[in-house]
């Protein structure tokens, strides 16, 4: 049998694309709030205003003139990341891990000159990576140093944790691990691994790659079922507070755990996908319903209380 019956999916509480678009995104995410999350620089400034930890902002390049003065600007920093503010899906992100003499060294060992860095920044400004080629701003951030526990989990790039926040409550989460097949990107449909994590304690429940179950990382062989996430309640609190900060009712909050600073908010997504249900081997609908059934007073509680409640509600 090629198809599952729709009734079976409904029993499992799977949310489909149409339902997500109408009941979750259409109802809960007013269009005028989108620019807050679609522009990384705006997200970052908003996060700073609301006291949410993010990777430190080194600077933003707005004009080609800024690009010319890049060199002294980067002088004090060994490692950094240059990102397009309006890029999506990890496009146009250049990560410099170290410096060797006058060269900048990428995460994969490739050496770049300052001219090549300038060229990349200039491409970002001209809209090469943004939607529809609109002019963009290049954001320079301090390099994230992933937590030691995540070594071997990701081939290139830092593993991040996606938390779905529904009306202020974290309801489902997963860790996304890039693979060689996904070309270092953390998008599930490109071949990254999704490891479902329990809301109650951040423990792995299931892992999938291309909608199929996996138990170890295909490149490093690391055991995916023994992942442990440090500072789990703090991480969920950042997710819950990011929902308060943006006002979005259905939000994907992407968080990394830095070995020096703990959980940092990386970016937000107003249209988070549905593959997280496969990674968790569990549907979103019952959790959405459970939150809808809470008394109105619960929604007025602070982020910490809401996280505690969610941790006790969902496995």
């Amino acid at each position: 049998m090629m198809f599952v019956s729709p009734r079976r999916l409904r029993e499992l509480g799977i949310v489909g694309m149409n339902q997500r678009n109408i009941s979750l995104i259409g109802d809960l995410n007013p269009r005028h709030l989108y620019p807050l999350v679609d522009n990384k620089l705006k997200t970052k400034l908003l996060a700073a205003e609301k006291g949410l930890a993010t990777p430190a902002l080194i600077g933003a390049l707005r004009t080609q003139h800024d690009v010319q003065g890049l060199e002294p600007f980067l002088e004090p920093h060994d490692g950094f990341a240059i990102k397009p503010a309006k890029g999506s899906g990890g496009k146009g992100i250049l990560v410099i891990a170290a410096r060797r003499e006058e060269f900048f060294v990428k995460a994969n060992g490739q050496e770049l000159t300052i001219d090549e860095i300038r060229r990349h920044a200039s491409n970002i400004l001209s809209g090469l990576f943004s939607l529809g080629g609109a002019p963009d701003v290049a954001v320079i951030e301090e390099l994230i140093k992933p937590h030691a526990a995540y070594k071997n989990l990701s081939v290139e790039g830092v593993p991040d944790i996606r938390v779905i926040v529904y009306r202020g409550f974290p309801i489902m989460s997963m860790m996304r691990l890039s693979t060689r097949e996904s070309d270092g990107k953390a998008n599930l449909h490109q071949g990254a691994i999704g490891v479902g994590l329990t809301i109650s304690g951040g423990r792995p429940v299931n892992a999938t790659q291309f909608n199929r179950r996996v138990v170890e990382h295909p490149d490093s062989g690391a055991d995916l079922m023994s992942i442990q996430i440090a500072d789990w309640p703090d991480l969920l609190e950042i997710a819950a507070r990011s929902a308060d900060a943006t006002g979005l009712g259905y939000l994907g909050s992407d968080i990394v755990v830095d070995r020096r600073y703990g959980p940092l908010l990386l970016e937000l997504n107003a249209r988070p996908g549905l593959a997280i249900q496969l990674a968790n081997n569990c549907g979103l609908a019952p959790r959405v319903r459970a939150i809808d059934d809470l008394s109105p007073a619960c929604f007025r509680q602070g982020p910490k209380m809401r996280v505690d409640r969610a941790m006790s509600m969902f496995d």
């Binding site: 090629m2 999916l9 490109q190």
Partner: protein, 512 residues
């Protein structure tokens, strides 16, 4: 949250209900009051044909003679009229041929004259047996005269009577490896004058033959030309050889516009004359009555496209199909979950398919997009800005189309010329989007979206070419409201998509 959703759903249902009542009401009214049948009848259709004569007048007296079709095997002329502001129009016989004659004392500048005919297609019927034209004795200069003789001698030796001689001649000229003599003559007269050449060659052997002109009838076509045909007489019989008709058109009904030798259009006092035809097909219960009734009805329920000139009616036949294409896109995206490159690009591709026929269209589309992608992938190394890059892709696509047209014409595939019907800007955007998709998401996503787009285009094509759909959309404007209501209903569907039943299958298996 819930109550708001319910209130919204209520107003949606209210709007959908009103639209359904309006749409169905208008359609039922039209069905009962004007007798428009629900399904395209089995009775023979009526063709409304409009000939437009354009020319440039020089400020002198103008006389325009346009041949009119007459009753013939397969067709009966029901009604004729003309529109020509400022001109005197009379239907006369000139040289034994029915003619529409426009005259004016003085005219200046661009002139447009219209002649309209309602033609009933019928199984057969009496028609005047056209007398054979007088035998002329055409002559050719040397060396062509001896070449013509040689070709004729060869054909005569391989045939038995005038008809088989004609067939033999045609096959000699049409063969892809035609002989040196035939090639020489073709080079002199050109492909489009082949009919005249053959008629003259037959005449030189005393066989009555003439170039006559016919019109291919295809629903909703505009700016069509007459096709030259070769007619040959022998004793009491005569036969028409469809020389100017291309592959894929043989099954269309052919109306003889000028059934014997002579001119089709003669303009005195003007230059640069041009003759174009538009036509639409209708299925009517009472011959010819309905179009008139609908066209003249003034009450708002009788609002009808039929009151427009035929060229505009033909245009609307296509425009009114677009909602059907949109409906197909909605169905396939919302119910099935197909991903397409560009939301309504498949509808435009489907429109192009209507012009090109499905197979030619598919092959042409794949060729252009594939070659475009290759060139575009090289262009991405050059790192151009977006607008410049897309402009470059547009020029590339036009070049590809030009090359394909020339190439396919050279190897004798006139089908290949139809590739020009594709909307080039849309093709360029498709190439650009696919190329970016390839770089960012990999070939897998390109394959998925490419397949989704083509599948949607083919389904939309099938829906839009269905005789029933064409009949309903054109004759029942009210059904547009019904389509709108359906689309609005689809827009509030929150159930699963067909492909999600596959996507989440592993989840169901693990939990069973």
């Amino acid at each position: 949250m819930k109550s708001r959703a319910r209130a919204r759903q209520f107003s949606l249902f209210a709007i959908v209900g009103v639209l359904l009542v309006l749409g169905l009401g208008q359609s039922i009214h039209r069905h009962y009051v004007y007798d428009v049948p629900w399904i395209p009848g089995t009775e023979k259709p009526i063709w409304s044909i409009e000939a437009s004569v354009q020319f440039f007048a020089r400020g002198e007296p103008v006389t325009v003679n346009l041949r009119r079709p007459k009753d013939q095997s397969g067709f009966a002329i029901l009604d004729e009229n003309g529109a020509s502001p400022g001109y005197g129009l009379s239907f006369v016989n000139v040289g034994g041929q029915p003619t529409a004659q426009w005259t004016v004392r003085q005219a200046d500048g661009q002139q447009v004259l219209y002649y309209r005919a309602e033609v009933l297609q019928r199984d057969a019927g009496e028609f005047d047996d056209e007398p054979p034209p007088e035998i002329r004795s055409p002559s050719w200069e040397e060396p062509y005269a001896s070449v013509v003789e040689a070709v004729l001698d060869q054909a005569v030796s391989l045939s038995a009577d005038p008809f088989s001689l004609t067939r033999q001649l045609i096959s000699q000229f049409r063969a892809s490896d035609r002989g040196q003599n035939e090639q020489l003559l073709m080079d002199v007269v050109g492909d489009q004058n082949l009919t005249d050449l053959l008629a003259n060659m037959l005449q030189s052997r005393g066989i009555p033959a003439a170039t006559v002109y016919g019109l291919l009838l295809e629903d909703g076509r505009r700016r069509q030309r007459l096709r030259p045909l070769l007619r040959v007489w022998s004793d009491e019989q005569n036969e028409v050889f469809p020389l100017g008709i291309e592959a894929g058109e043989e099954d269309l009904p052919l109306l003889l516009w000028q059934p014997t030798q002579g001119y089709v259009l003669d303009v005195t006092g003007g230059t640069g004359s041009e003759l174009r035809f538009s036509m639409i097909r209708s299925e009517l219960t009472n011959y010819g009555q309905l179009a008139g009734t609908l066209g003249e009805a003034n009450d708002w329920l009788g609002f009808s496209i039929h009151s427009l000139p035929i060229e505009e009616q033909a245009l609307f036949k296509t425009i009114l199909l677009l909602p059907i294409g949109a409906l197909v896109v909605c169905l396939l995206r919302i119910f099935v979950g197909l991903r397409t490159s560009g939301t309504f690009m498949p509808v435009l591709i489907a429109l192009a398919f209507i012009e090109t026929s499905l197979t030619t269209g598919l092959v042409g589309f794949l060729l252009v997009v594939a070659v475009g992608l290759m060139i575009r992938s090289y262009m991405s190394h050059l790192n151009l800005l977006l607008v410049a890059r897309i402009s470059a892709v547009i020029i590339t696509v036009i070049t590809i189309i030009a090359l394909f047209s020339v190439f396919s014409f050279r190897v004798g595939l006139t089908e290949g010329l139809k590739i020009t019907f594709f909307p080039m800007i849309i093709l360029s955007w498709t190439v650009e989007r696919m190329s970016i998709l390839w770089e960012e998401e990999g070939w897998r996503e390109v394959a998925i979206q490419g397949f989704g787009s083509l599948a949607t285009a083919v389904v939309a094509y099938l829906a839009m070419t269905s005789l029933l759909v064409r009949h309903l959309t054109f004759n029942f404007i009210g059904l547009q409201f019904v389509v709108l209501a359906l689309i609005m209903m689809l827009g509030s569907y929150t159930g699963y998509r067909l492909l999600e039943l596959v996507r989440f299958k592993s989840l169901a298996e693990q939990n069973s």
